[in-house]
């Protein structure tokens, strides 16, 4: 894992001091509210519906036990004893006081963390595959690249006042778990025919009110050109991106309006100018960074006990069926800890739970923790012999929900319970769906299904790429929920299609129940997932299930 060197440490401390000064200068009038706003945003501080919210970066989703304990300490000392894990590998504190924020940032700096550029019209926290460094299907670990990008984008003088926010994601696996095609820049680590490392570069993806799948701007970019090429893209966007309308300001619109060819020409021309400015020293730094991400020293032990425990305990077996992923070391497993207990707020963890996770990771997980964009916590390296003990410890902390990838593993944005932009509630809908399917005891029968809920068209809940997406809107003061079908955030990224008229808050959960039961009735066999069935059958039968009255009328 990356640990700060003297430069990084001095940087974050200087940044905290600057922000402390900015808060004081806002209060004494040196900074107007308009001027203070982007300064607080680029330090992670939002003004929400009821209070400030501090969004802390968990760079590429990786942290250690000490850092997790510090997050718990911050939650207890300056917030209400919990934090909320987000879809961009951040943690949000919902109730900080403005005057406390510099101290919170200093407490983060103490453990090599920060809230820099988690908001504002800047290059945001770089995200990566949450199974990086552990997944069996990985070509290369994306985290050193993500760390290099973090350093490059941090406080970049040219890019602190972009037309709009800018998100970069990187994956080192052909199975894209980082939704790279829905990012402003998506990087897929590949090798060319000569075996050299590089990237397929995708540009102009994004969700929000105009969802778009990113387009390939470069099939193969040599690794050493990464920073210069990214700088060229953002530099072209900084001048060309629209500043007259914030809803048309993202690079996806710039690419759409100017055409990919024009953007590519401008980027390549800019790249030619920028490239010589990089002397190759960044590649030396990258080599140093890579050393931080060496594999853990795997232990060797018998795994017989694991199989025996699975046979002996059906609850443990069920948890291992859903919450484990193949590790590149056969004796190990990747553990997903569900932060989606039925009826609870997706992504919310108490400080006690954070400490429990930290302890478990320290004892059984080589001290490594990950946060996934699906709002769950990952222990990337657990020996199979320890899984039963990990499970028991998670049960004690109320963290053993066996629902990863199932109906109740729902991504939901904070919605109208917290967010100033929201037009409808998201969290209660997620809670009701999860609770309902828990009552029905059918989520294991239903199988893999991604439901994603956004409380407004800005789509923080990624509803466009949910197999079932739910979008909460305001229709003349009444919440109305639209359903989209067939979305997919994987390497086959697809934007879901709107099913039809929306449902009221009372109707949406029964509609989802009808939809899922209807799918189970028409699927080919138990193996055919919701998404596969949708792709095979098309939207018509699913619409008939959702709108039975209309279907009857058509049949009559």
């Amino acid at each position: 894992m990356y640990t700060y060197n003297d430069f990084d440490e001095a940087f974050v401390l200087e940044r905290v001091a600057q922000f402390r000064g900015q808060v004081e200068r806002r209060i004494d009038g040196s900074l107007t509210e308009d001027e203070f706003k982007p300064l607080r945003l680029m330090n992670g501080l939002y003004l929400q519906l009821h209070a400030y919210m501090l969004r802390v970066a968990i760079p590429y989703g990786t942290l250690n036990s000490g850092q997790m304990r510090q997050l718990a300490f911050i939650a207890d000392k300056w917030d209400k004893g919990y934090g909320h894990f987000t879809t961009r590998q951040n943690i949000q504190y919902n109730w900080p006081k403005l005057n406390d924020v510099p101290d919170m940032l200093e407490a983060l700096a103490d453990v090599g963390m920060h809230a820099i550029q988690t908001s504002g019209n800047t290059i945001r926290n770089v995200t990566a595959d949450h199974f990086a460094g552990a997944a069996a299907d990985e070509i290369a670990d994306p985290r050193p690249i993500a760390e290099l990008l973090r350093q490059w984008s941090t406080d970049h003088p040219e890019f602190q006042f972009l037309p709009r926010k800018f998100k970069i994601a990187v994956t080192g696996s052909p199975n894209d778990r980082a939704v790279t095609k829905a990012h402003d820049i998506g990087l897929r680590m590949v090798r060319n025919d000569a075996g050299e490392a590089g990237f397929e570069v995708v540009v102009g993806g994004g969700l929000g009110r105009t969802p778009m799948i990113g387009k390939v701007i470069r099939d193969f970019l040599p690794q050493e050109d990464l920073l210069a090429y990214c700088e060229a893209i953002v530099s072209v966007y900084n001048l060309l991106g629209r500043r007259d309308n914030k809803y048309k300001a993202r690079i996806k619109i710039t690419v759409h309006e100017n055409g990919l060819e024009t953007i590519r020409e401008k980027v390549e021309a800019r790249f030619a100018q920028i490239r010589d400015g990089f002397t190759g020293f960044d590649q030396q730094l990258l080599a140093q960074i890579e050393q931080h991400f060496a594999e853990p020293s795997y232990k060797s032990a018998k795994t017989d006990g694991y199989e025996a425990a699975r046979l002996a305990n059906p609850a443990f077996r069920s948890w291992t069926d859903t919450n484990l992923t193949a590790h590149k070391n056969d004796d190990y497993a990747i553990v997903s800890i569900s932060i989606k207990k039925h009826g609870h707020t997706p992504g919310d963890a108490s400080s006690d739970q954070m400490r429990a996770i930290a302890d478990i990771a320290e004892t059984f997980g080589h001290n490594e923790i990950r946060i996934s964009h699906e709002q769950n916590v990952i222990l990337p390296h657990v020996h199979k012999a320890d899984l039963n003990l990990v499970y028991q410890a998670l049960r004690k902390a109320d963290l053993a929900t066996a629902n990863i990838g199932l109906v109740s593993d729902i991504i939901a944005c904070p919605g109208m319970d917290y967010c100033a932009l929201a037009t409808a509630r998201s969290i209660p809908i997620a809670q009701e769906i999860a609770t309902r399917f828990e009552e029905l005891k059918m989520e294991h029968e239903v199988g893999p299904l991604k439901i994603k809920i956004s409380g407004c068209i800005n789509a923080c809940g990624h509803h466009h790429v949910g197999h079932i997406g739910i979008l909460g809107l305001d229709r003349a003061g009444v919440e109305n929920y639209q359903i989209t079908l067939g979305g997919d955030g994987s390497e086959d990224a697809t934007i879901g299609e709107r099913a039809g008229p929306g449902f009221s808050a009372d109707e949406i959960v029964p509609a989802i129940e009808r939809l899922i039961k209807g799918y189970v009735a028409i699927r080919q066999d138990d193996e055919e997932t919701f998404l596969q069935a949708y792709r095979r059958l098309g939207p018509a039968p699913f619409k008939d299930i959702l709108y039975p009255e209309k279907a009857e009328k058509n049949a009559a």
């Binding site: 940087f11 040196s30 300064l39 003088p157 040219e158 006042f161």
Partner: protein, 136 residues
Amino acid sequence: MSVIVTDTGFAADDWKCGFRAVEGSPANDCPEGIDLASDTDPATLVGLTNAAMIRVDFPSFADGRGFTLATRLRQLGYKGRLRAKGHVIADQYAMARRSGFDEVEIDDDLAARQPEDQWLRRSNWQGHNYQARLRG
């Protein structure tokens, strides 16, 4: 009146030759500075590398295009004096300097609201600079 901010603090403007728009015709007796709007087409910059002074306008501090224009000018080999003018706040001083500006021109109101010490606090712009570090 306006105030010129450099690493040593506030000073009066010592540029005597005035400014003209990029498309205007040059005066003969004095090398006028060139005024650039923030929405200047970057293709224009190539022809300006021999200018003695270029002044880039910041109509709003939230308009970051000037930082890219400055960076581009320097990358094209522009060696003359480069000034950011308008709504640039003290917190952006380091960004301006790192992007290649030599100085910032602000009006008296802003200079009164954000006095010299607030700008001098950012005169350490060469420190803690990730981009310079990555470029070696």
